[in-house]
């Protein structure tokens, strides 16, 4: 059948949708029924699926083009969009311009097919939107967990995502937010407990007027040494202490660093005019100090707290006697 004015006349006379496609299976012409089926848009250059729905290209026109030398009417099946059902919906003839002339003899079925395709498109769009929401939710979870790993516990899954309509993401987001909040609470509790332990591990006792005792137990690292120093200097000032007894009976291991920390504490206290006495050096610690060559020659060391307290009292007595006015007894 030639693609001429005669073909147009034939198409115009048909009540069923009829159209012509070129070799690339693009619609190049169509009658009023085809235009009605495709909508108000112009047919020229349209994808065939706009006129007859998906499947027509493969199942109507392609076989028709393959049989063009036969110049015979081909009654073709058109698969419905889900690929499960076949219906005979169209006749097709190869035309001389390398395309085909197609008549859809069951337009109602085609309309139904188009409606199904439209529904399918909407479902696909809905599915796409939904999976994107899921992907964005997962992205946020990744981001929040990543921030958490970096130590930022203020990051949370956003309200937009929690209320985005995806239940799975919302539940996961709420669980993550809840977990972070719980971790934050636990960390705060641990910090409070650490502070309390630190306070308890460095008690500063006033054992006599102007005499402070600081029993040290456990390991002294630079952080703890800094805290000991800060607290001790503060107490010396507040309580106007003249003597400080640093008792290390509870310190089992002393290395160069620990010894250095003690010396620093003692030197800092002495700068405030306070005399420091180091007590409680056990045999093992003494041996270590000698082995590592720590110089404690400028620091007063005594056996225990009792000796140190006696020494303080003795020193205070000497000072009191020295400062008392001289009286002559006759």
């Amino acid at each position: 059948m030639a693609n001429t004015g005669a073909t147009r006349e034939i198409m115009a006379g048909l009540g069923d949708p009829a159209f012509q496609v070129d070799g690339a299976m693009r619609v190049v012409d169509g009658n009023a029924a085809a235009v009605r089926l495709a909508g108000s848009i112009e047919l020229s250059g349209l994808d065939l699926s706009a006129v007859a729905g998906p499947g027509v290209c493969e199942d109507v026109v392609a076989p028709c083009l393959a049989q063009r030398e036969l110049s015979a009417k081909s009654e073709c099946n058109v698969r419905l969009w889900d690929g499960t059902t076949s219906k005979r919906l169209a006749y097709a003839w190869p035309n001389e311009s390398g395309g085909a002339f197609v008549v859809l003899h069951d337009a109602k079925q085609v309309e139904s097919l188009q409606a199904e395709v439209q529904t399918h498109k909407e479902l696909v769009q809905e599915y796409h939107d939904s999976t994107m929401e899921l992907a964005i939710g997962i992205s946020e979870l990744f981001e929040v967990l990543s921030e958490m790993r970096k130590g930022n516990l203020d990051a949370r899954v956003s309200e937009t995502t929690l209320e985005g309509g995806n239940d799975l993401v919302a539940q996961m987001g709420q669980a993550v937010n809840r977990t972070i909040a719980e971790i934050q609470d636990q960390l705060e509790l641990i910090q409070r407990q650490q502070f309390a332990i630190q306070e308890l591990s460095t008690p500063i006792l006033q054992v006599w007027d102007q005499v402070l005792a600081l029993p040290v137990v456990g390991v002294v690292d630079s952080r703890r040494a800094a805290m000991i120093m800060e607290r001790l200097l503060s107490e010396i000032k507040v309580r106007q202490a003249r003597y400080v007894i640093l008792d290390i009976t509870g310190v089992e291991v002393v290395d160069t660093k620990t010894a250095d920390q003690f010396i620093k504490v003692i030197r800092a206290a002495e700068l405030l005019g306070t005399k420091c006495i180091l007590t409680g050096i056990g045999p093992a610690v003494a041996q270590t100090l000698v082995d590592i060559g720590v110089d404690l020659s400028t620091i007063t060391t005594l056996r225990d707290l009792q000796d140190a307290l006696w020494e303080c009292l003795h020193q205070m007595q000497i000072k009191a006697s020295a400062s008392a006015p001289i009286t002559h007894v006759r």
């Binding site: 796409h128 999976t131 994107m132 899921l134 964005i136 997962i138 992205s139």
Partner: protein, 73 residues
């Protein structure tokens, strides 16, 4: 500031953006992620993702049938 490539070709929505999200765990602020994907909705998806995740979409180009998106973290 590092530039990292991510090949998401052959993956369909929403897998490319999930791959971006997974990659973001190893990226720092200022780093640039260059993603190549051939999913038809990738450009639309990556624009939406960047908007929601507050990332800067520097450029979207076409190259050898793939969409290339440059994202700054």
């Amino acid at each position: 500031m590092a530039t990292i490539n991510l090949d998401a070709k052959g993956l369909r929505c929403p897998q490319p953006v999930i791959r971006i999200a997974a990659k973001s765990a190893v990226l720092n602020a200022g780093d640039i992620l260059v993603v190549a994907a051939d999913c038809p909705t990738f450009e639309q998806d990556v624009r939406k993702w960047c908007g929601r995740m507050r990332k800067t979409l520097l450029a979207v180009t076409q190259q050898n049938g793939a969409t290339i998106a440059q994202i700054q973290f």
